[in-house]
Structure formats: structure tokens, C-alpha cells
């Protein structure tokens, strides 16, 4: 446990000094600041106004940015460290591989989640100062959703880092994974359905296997519980899970994907060449 914490602390300090982290923090803090600046709390969408409206927009933007940010920065720093000889030296110290790998994940998780969460807290604080009502249930669920999203893509990022032997290859693979998930979000699925070659159930199952789609649908479900904006797909989802069931699924499934990917990454890491 001591080794795990030492490794996590090491990764946190290394990340805090890295340029990517500074950009990352500025991006998420900046989004909230801009949303307030442009008076988004005063606009109305689907009956939503105030901080709910801002949080809905924030989570939509975060869903677009967070996965690729987490994937690229994780693979860049992990594969980059390996290439630069950091692993050769640090892994010559008496630290167990489990403590090293999971400590690195733990440290990195804190580093990637805190700015996103910090931006949400910032939004709440500004709302409280301005006397805007805070939708606490929505805030807590969105926070949990962001925490799960970060865990999911961090796990995938660590798996890619364990598989790829160079930074270039790792970055390429991470981008490809993100692009594939993005394409299956709408474009390919819609195309497949329009051609009518698969049943709606199969198309919805493919969509629900995609963590990006799961997050997107869960975020929608909070202000559109009947998922009207999804059209006919909503029937399949709601028949299968129910509204509450889907909210739980949206938290559990991506966590399982992230943990499974990280576990597979760890198995590959400990069985292969370390530096």
C-alpha cells in the first residue's frame, strides 16, 4: 500500500508539472467561465434554465473533450516515459509491478478528474454567489457520470499504453479508438439502421456497448427522462432498463469497461518487457 501511494504521489507531481495538465485545467475551467460569461444560465432549453442549463451544456462539452484528452495524455505520458528511459530507472527500484501500475492509474485518475470536478464546483460556487438555485441531484449524478467517464477512458488508455511499444503508435491507437467510438455514436449506426440491414435491437445494443453513447444517453435522460430526442431507440432502452435502471447502467457499465481494460493492461504489462 505504501508503494502504491508513493507511485501515485509521484505520478501526481509529475503530471502537475506537465504542460498538458495546465492546458487541461485551463480548458475545463475556461468552459465554465465562458458559459457563465455568455449568460447561459439565463437561456432556456427544453424548459431548463439556470444552473441545470449550464450543467447540461458543460457535460455535453466535457463528453466531447474528456475522452480524447484522457486517452492522448495517458498514452503520451506512459509510453513517452517508457521511451525516455524513465521506466528503466524507476523500475530498477524495489517497487512491485502491481503497486507501480495501479499506483500510476490512481495518481493519474486524481489528476484527470480533479480539474473536471473543480470546474463543476466552480460553477456551483458562482451560482451560489449569484443566488441561482443549485440542482443538487443533477450535480451529484453528473459528477458521478464524469468520474465514471474518466475511469473508463483512463483504463482504455492504460491498456493501449501496455500494448503499444512507442509513443507514436500509442497515440495513433488512442486516436483510432476514440474515432471508432465517435463514429458508432451516430454516423455509422444511423447509416446501418437506414439501410435496414440490422434490427433496431442490434443497433441499440451496439450503441449501448459504446461508452460514449452510454454517457450521452444518460446525460440526456436527466432532463429528458422519456428520451424523446432519441426517437424509437428510446423504447428499446427504456423497455430494457427503465429510467432508473438506465441511470445505474450508465454508471456501472463504463466502470466495468475501464476496470477490465486496466486489468488486461496490467496483465500485459507484468508479463512483458517493462522498459
Amino acid at each position: 500500500m505504501k508503494q502504491l501511494w508513493l507511485t501515485a504521489k509521484l505520478d501526481i507531481v509529475e503530471s502537475l508539472r506537465a504542460r498538458w495538465f495546465q492546458i487541461y485545467t485551463v480548458v475545463f475551467g475556461g468552459i465554465v467561465a465562458l458559459l457563465f460569461l455568455f449568460g447561459l444560465t439565463e437561456s432556456r432549453v427544453l424548459g431548463f434554465i439556470g444552473l441545470s442549463r449550464l450543467l447540461v451544456t458543460y457535460i455535453q462539452l466535457t463528453m466531447a473533450i474528456l475522452p480524447i484528452f484522457v486517452l492522448i495524455t495517458t498514452v503520451r505520458s506512459v509510453a513517452g516515459d517508457r521511451e525516455a528511459g524513465v521506466y528503466e530507472y524507476l523500475l530498477s527500484l524495489p517497487v512491485s509491478l502491481a503497486a507501480w501500475f495501479w499506483g500510476k492509474i490512481f495518481g493519474r485518475y486524481i489528476v484527470i478528474f480533479l480539474p473536471v470536478f473543480g470546474a463543476m464546483v466552480l460553477a456551483v460556487l458562482i451560482a451560489l454567489v449569484r443566488g441561482i438555485e443549485v440542482p443538487w441531484v443533477m450535480f451529484i449524478y453528473y459528477t458521478a457520470l464524469l468520474a465514471v467517464m474518466a475511469a473508463c477512458f483512463l483504463g482504455i488508455g492504460m491498456l493501449i499504453s501496455a500494448l503499444a511499444r512507442s509513443t507514436d503508435m500509442a497515440q495513433g491507437a488512442a486516436f483510432l479508438v476514440w474515432l471508432t467510438l465517435l463514429l458508432f455514436l451516430d454516423l455509422i449506426l444511423l447509416g446501418v439502421m437506414i439501410q435496414g440491414k440490422v434490427t433496431p435491437e442490434v443497433a441499440v445494443t451496439i450503441a449501448l456497448a459504446n461508452p460514449l453513447q452510454v454517457f450521452r444517453t444518460a446525460a440526456l435522460a436527466l432532463f429528458d427522462p422519456q428520451l424523446i430526442v432519441l426517437g424509437p431507440s428510446a423504447y428499446v432502452i427504456l423497455d430494457l432498463f427503465g429510467v432508473t435502471g438506465y441511470k445505474v447502467f450508465a454508471l456501472v457499465y463504463p466502470t466495468v469497461v475501464g476496470v477490465a481494460a486496466a486489468t488486461l493492461g496490467y496483465q500485459l504489462f507484468r508479463r512483458g518487457d517493462l522498459p
Binding site: Q3, A18, V86, Y89, L91, P94, D273
Partner: protein, 302 residues
């Protein structure tokens, strides 16, 4: 102490280590030499449990891969290229000390002996230090624990003569109870440090030889050099070795650490046309029985 049994390592189709078998005993000081791509670094990484391979490596009968923490706790490692760590110096010291179960004060003390004052650089990122500072710190970390094996890749390459002298002294203090594996491209860089030479080529051991061990790691040579005319480059070189000017840059005197004498002589050989008198005498050595000291010679300019 260290045993490599039929170790073979392949990267895809390339055989980087080819059926290596070696036994290295306690207190042996081994020079691992060979050109680039000979397999030295790969062999070291196998020893540190960082690579998977066919065959077996053991340190005191234990597998460095299976019993990582126990085995690596007894190994001090100095890499050839310092890692680009962004963490502050203080954190690197605390991190390695905590993992190795040693007191950070011990590392501070060793760094101080090597001429590295840690106080002003504790908050500076490791990667921002100069090459020499990084090397001194990594040596202090490797020696600042109860290691039974020291694995060093070109350890003295970035050190100034004074730091090299202290480094040799530090090794001398540990030589009875520590096994050393020192990797280098060139034998003359490490020859005086070791009592066994293993040369590798194309992944095989092509030479495994014991060498004369007459000069101890802490031995000193008193040196006196006279030159025919003052030469700024020579003056600079002498000053770098902390030699004293005995008269207008024409006569120089100083001490050369025993393990560094070959390197020193290599340096002075560049000025052979300039040198008129050259003496190198082991401090505390018995008087020579033959006329003239065997290490004393006259260089005459053409």
C-alpha cells in the same frame, strides 16, 4: 552471487542475447564492455528483472522478476542516461529512500561527499540539473542504501576529476561486501576499477578474463610534469585535474586517483610533444628495486 544460466533474449527475430551463462561472485568487480548493440544494456535489464527472456537469472538464488522487491532492494543501479524526471530533487530522494528503506540523510551525505550541494537544488526538477549533477545524485541514491550488487552503466562519464576521485573512494569503501557490474563502451574508462573483464559482441560473451588488481580503488599516484613551453590548453587540462602550478605554467604537480591513472595518462598523451619530464609514483608504494621507478619515464620533445 549472480548467475546467468543460458540466457537468451530476442526482440522479434533478432537475438540480442545468445545463450549467456555467467557466474559472478561476491566482491567481484566486473567490467562489462562491448560496442553499441553488443547486448550490455539488455543483459543489465535482464538482471534487473525488466525484461522477459529464456533461461534463468538469479541473485543469491532469487529471481529478480518473481521476487522483485526483495531482490531489487539489494541492487543499486546507475543508468547511462539519466531519466528525464520532472519531479523535484527532494522528492526523487524521498521516493527512492522510502522504497529502499533507507534514510534520505544518507543520500544527502553521499551527494555532499561527491561535491553536490543539495540544499539549493532540492526544489528544482531533476531534469533541469546539469549532466554532472544528475550523475552525482543517481550515484548517491545507488550507494545510499545497503546494496549487495551495484550495477552501473558508464557511471563516471559525466563526473569531473575530483568527483571521480571521491566516487572511487566510495566504491573502495564498499568493495569487500559488494559485487559490482560496470558497463562501458571502452575498457580504459573502467579498467582500473575492476578485477574481471567480460566483453560482449553480438549478444555473446567473447572474453571473460581476470585482470591484475595491484592498485586499490583508494590508491593515489603523485604526479609531476614539466613542459617545454607554457600552453593554455595544457594549463586548463591540468587545472581540471586540480594540479598545482609550480612555476609559470611550466611545471605541474598533483595527485591522480589510482583507478583514474589510465585516463589521466590518456589525457596527457595528447601533449606528448610538449612534455619534457613526467613522473607518476604510487603514494606509499615500496621503493623500486631496479634503477629508476618503473612508472617514471622521460618524454623528450622532438
Amino acid at each position: 552471487m549472480i548467475r546467468f544460466s543460458n540466457v537468451t533474449k530476442r526482440f522479434r527475430k533478432a537475438r540480442v542475447l545468445d545463450d549467456i551463462s555467467l557466474d559472478i561472485g561476491l566482491s567481484e568487480r566486473v567490467a562489462l564492455i562491448g560496442s553499441n548493440g553488443a547486448g550490455k544494456t539488455t543483459l543489465i535489464r535482464c538482471l534487473l528483472g525488466e525484461y522477459t527472456f529464456d533461461g534463468q537469472v538469479s541473485i543469491e538464488g532469487r529471481d529478480p522478476r518473481q521476487e522483485r522487491t526483495a531482490v531489487l532492494g539489494t541492487i543499486g543501479f546507475v543508468p547511462q542516461l539519466p531519466p528525464p524526471l520532472k519531479m523535484p530533487v527532494a522528492q526523487l530522494i524521498d521516493f527512492s529512500a522510502a522504497l529502499c528503506g533507507t534514510n534520505p540523510a544518507r543520500i544527502h551525505e553521499l551527494a555532499q561527499r561527491l561535491g553536490l550541494d543539495l540544499a539549493p537544488i532540492l526544489t528544482r526538477p531533476f531534469v533541469k540539473l546539469s549532466g554532472g549533477m544528475k550523475q552525482k545524485l543517481l550515484i548517491a541514491i545507488a550507494l545510499g542504501r545497503d546494496a549487495k550488487v551495484l550495477v552501473m552503466d558508464e557511471p563516471a562519464a559525466n563526473l569531473d576529476p575530483e568527483a571521480r576521485k571521491i566516487f572511487f573512494e566510495l566504491l573502495a569503501e564498499r568493495q569487500e561486501d559488494v559485487t559490482m557490474l560496470i558497463s562501458s563502451h571502452r575498457l580504459n574508462e573502467v579498467s582500473a576499477l575492476v578485477n574481471r573483464v567480460i566483453e560482449m559482441d553480438m549478444g555473446k560473451v567473447v572474453l571473460d578474463d581476470r585482470v591484475a588488481d595491484d592498485v586499490s580503488l583508494s590508491g593515489q599516484f603523485a604526479c609531476r610534469i614539466s613542459i617545454k613551453r607554457c600552453e593554455p590548453a595544457f594549463t586548463k587540462a591540468m587545472q581540471a585535474w586540480n594540479f598545482r602550478d609550480l612555476g609559470n605554467g611550466m611545471e605541474w604537480e598533483g595527485d591522480v586517483p589510482g583507478p583514474d591513472r589510465l585516463r589521466f595518462m590518456g589525457m596527457t598523451s595528447r601533449y606528448v610533444a610538449l612534455i619534457s619530464d613526467y613522473s607518476l609514483r604510487e603514494v606509499g608504494a615500496a621503493a623500486p628495486c631496479a634503477p629508476g621507478n618503473p612508472l617514471r619515464g622521460q618524454a623528450t620533445a622532438n
